[in-house]
């Protein structure tokens, strides 16, 4: 192989090298170009709008922010030596908003007592719109002598609540559960 051929090959080799290097660099750039392309494709096809910040989901669309309802909490005991009271006496909520409140009960006797709370609503028509997700009234509560317990209620007011209702009273009454008292002797 003579030297002229060799230098010619070397020159065309270098040219191929340069071209291929450019391709490699372009492909490195292409990797990054995939980022906006991906966002665009998702946006156009509506597959997933990566531009909308995630607070779309924290903005709960089921909450009616246009109005507020006052909830008053009431607590009674019936022939039972317990003190029973809500921690907060009332609260303003939006319909559709999930809310938690706390009641406190104390057994003032020196023996264990089992009680059950029964809820009622005012006005009566509000009852079907008041959805309790978690409530101490779902179970019987047994308190030891002098025991204090804080019990949560989690609820949602249905946005379908008639416009005329702007205050709801949630009232609980605790009864002693019959037949649970252990007679000593």
């Amino acid at each position: 192989m003579n030297d002229a051929v060799l230098t010619e090959t070397a020159a065309s080799n270098r040219q191929t090298l340069r071209r291929l290097l450019v391709v490699a660099l372009l492909m490195f750039g292409f990797g990054f170009a995939l980022v906006p392309m991906y966002e665009k494709i998702c946006e156009v096809t509506g597959a997933r709008n990566v531009f909308l910040p995630d607070d779309v989901s924290t903005q709960n669309t089921q909450v009616d922010f246009s109005r507020k309802v006052s909830i008053e909490f009431d607590a009674n005991v019936q022939r039972l030596e317990w003190t029973f009271k809500p921690v907060e006496p009332y609260l303003d909520v939006h319909p559709g908003e999930m809310t938690q409140v706390v009641y406190e009960i104390r057994n003032t006797l020196d023996r264990p007592v089992t009680g059950q709370a029964v809820p009622s609503y005012g006005p009566r028509e509000a009852a079907q719109y008041f959805k309790k997700i978690e409530c101490f009234c779902f179970q019987q509560q047994t308190l030891g002598p002098g025991e204090v317990r804080r019990l949560p209620v989690v609820f949602v007011v249905d946005p379908a609540l008639p416009k005329s209702v702007n205050t709801i009273t949630l009232s609980y009454t605790f009864f002693e559960v019959a037949g649970t008292r252990k007679n000593p002797g």
Binding site: L17, V23, A24, F30, V50
Partner: protein, 530 residues
């Protein structure tokens, strides 16, 4: 040695001052000879293969029975991660680059690779990357899976940074190697060696090198984004900053699916040399082979999201990726047909290279079929990330690519070393590999169908029996590969002298125009190809 070179017209001395190579280690550090570099690639690959193998056996030992036995879950996950990375980037890819270095110049009648010095660099980057990779285990490792999905990687410990740098260096090495290969093939062919006269192995490497140049930079980009998310406050994948972890999967698999063909296509090339040689017939449908391989390469860019059916893609996307993926089976089918047609009415003999090529043909096709099963979206949803996928890709990567590489080693070993290997031991190696491979991986199909997830160190009691079968197979397979090491060493040390052309049906330039062993410098004066 110089006597041989003189035969080829030794007119210019300035071009190979490397004749009297420096003594000892420096010869290997400074060599620019394609054969030296090819050998180094192959030995490096074998060392990595053993290392990745030990990790695999750690996994299989832990999975011998349910419950945690010998390793911690974090370490188990690191083992699956490093096993995958080391086998893909350290064992399989460098093995085929080793073949490319040895064979491409000899098969096209070129004196060496186009850029010998860059070739030296491409190789020596590999040990550096390997050391980085393994040392990342020492700083806590990163059990993130070989696919390195965000957001796990953006939250992993410092081992992840070393892993990312290792991937960068591996990518650089591959890109430099590929540029060298493309340039050599395009510019340095002997007169008369038109593109459509090139041996199939050379064609497959031309296509593979283009694939590598196109997708390795994309992988480099993906891990760079991970790195900047980790340390420089960007939010490519970080959802808290407006990024999207699913984006990582898209970028990764844009690299990842072509990558599986980067592994498979050179394997096709080796088999396309071996099967005609032992059938004593030319390759059936040479032109259709070239076109089929090219179309596989092009299609491989359009199917990446078949790895992502469960990420919540729109149905239209699922349908598109499903049909596009199944389309790849068509050119693959053309290739399998051509290999079988090459054997049709050939005068077949079954020496070790042919046995491994046939093992490849059977088991790779089986792996292709399970690929088709996984390509069907509704079927993939329950199978995704189960042992069924593990079985699928080990059929295509171990029984496919690795068997093809072993076939190539047995095929060219006489030309490289001048000695014959021990045929009896070679056959033992094949049959033991074949049996243990299937014991290990066939049962994993059933495990996957029954719902055993991958990358989990513990499992439900009912999976025990199949896992124990698989573990027994794995240890058998691992030990068998030590036999391979013995066969190769025995061949180099004390093998019988090999003739110039030990295989009747071999017809490429290294067999027809060169003595055995191939001299240090070959084709300084190009042969003329009719």
């Amino acid at each position: 040695m110089s006597a041989v070179i003189d035969n080829h017209g030794h007119a210019h001395d300035d071009h190979h001052a490397d004749h009297g190579h420096p003594p000892g280690l420096m010869r290997w550090v400074s060599t620019t000879n394609h054969k030296d570099i090819g050998s180094m690639y192959l030995w490096f690959s074998f060392i990595m293969f053993l290392m990745g193998g030990v990790m695999a056996l750690t996994i299989r030992a832990e999975l011998w029975q349910p419950g945690m036995q010998i390793v911690q879950p974090e370490f188990f996950n690191q083992m699956t991660t490093y096993h995958g990375l080391i086998m893909v980037f350290g064992a399989i890819m460098p093995a085929f680059v080793g073949f490319a270095n040895w064979q491409i110049p000899m098969m096209i009648g070129a004196p060496d690779m186009a850029f010998p010095r860059m070739n030296n660099w491409s190789f020596w980057l590999l040990p550096v990357a390997a050391i980085l990779l393994v040392s990342s285990l020492a700083v806590g490792g990163a059990g993130v899976g070989w696919t390195m999905y965000a957001p796990l990687t953006t939250q992993a410990g410092p081992g992840m940074d070393l892993l990312i740098f290792a991937v960068h260096i591996l990518g650089m090495s591959s890109i430099m190697g590929s540029i060298n290969i493309v340039t050599t093939i395009l510019n340095m062919r002997a007169p008369g060696m038109t593109l459509m006269k090139m041996p199939m192995f050379v064609w497959t490497w031309l296509i593979t090198a283009y694939l590598l140049i196109a997708v390795m930079p994309v992988l480099a980009g993906a891990v760079t984004m991970t790195l900047t998310d980790r340390h420089f406050g960007t939010s490519f994948f970080n959802a808290a900053g407006g990024g999207d972890p699913v984006l990582y999967q898209h970028i990764f698999w844009f690299f990842g699916h072509p990558e599986v063909y980067i592994i498979a296509i050179p394997a096709f090339g080796v088999v396309s040399q071996v099967i005609p040689a032992f059938s004593r017939k030319p390759l059936f449908g040479y032109a259709s082979m070239v076109y089929a391989t090219s179309s596989i390469a092009i299609l491989s860019f359009m199917v990446w999201a078949h790895h992502m059916y469960t990420t919540g893609m729109p149905v239209a996307g699922q349908l598109y990726f499903m049909y596009a993926t199944m389309l790849i089976a068509v050119p693959t089918g053309v290739k399998v047909f051509n290999w079988v047609a090459t054997m049709w009415r050939g005068s077949l003999t079954f020496e070790t290279p042919m046995l491994f090529a046939l093992g490849f043909l059977f088991l790779f096709t089986l792996g292709g079929f399970t690929g088709l099963v996984l390509a069907m979206t509704p079927v993939d949803v329950p199978l995704h990330d189960t042992y069924y996928v593990v079985a699928h890709f080990h059929y295509v990567m171990v029984a496919g690519a690795l068997f093809s590489a072993l076939s190539g080693v047995y095929f060219w070993l006489p030309k490289w070393t001048g000695n014959m290997y021990d045929e009896t031991l070679g056959k033992w190696h094949f049959w033991l590999s074949m049996v243990f491979f299937n014991i290990t991986f066939f049962v994993q199909h059933f495990l996957g169908l029954a719902g055993m997830p991958r990358r989990i160190p513990d499992y439900n009691l009912q999976f025990t029996a199949f896992n124990q079968i698989s573990s027994i197979g794995a240890f058998g397979f691992g030990l068998t590969q030590l036999l391979f090491l013995y066969v190769v060493l025995k061949c180099i040390r004390s093998g019988e002298k090999a003739p110039d052309k030990p295989w009747d049906g071999a017809d490429t330039l290294e067999w027809t125009h060169l003595p055995t062993p191939a001299p240090y410098h070959t084709f300084e004066n190009p042969p003329t190809v009719k």
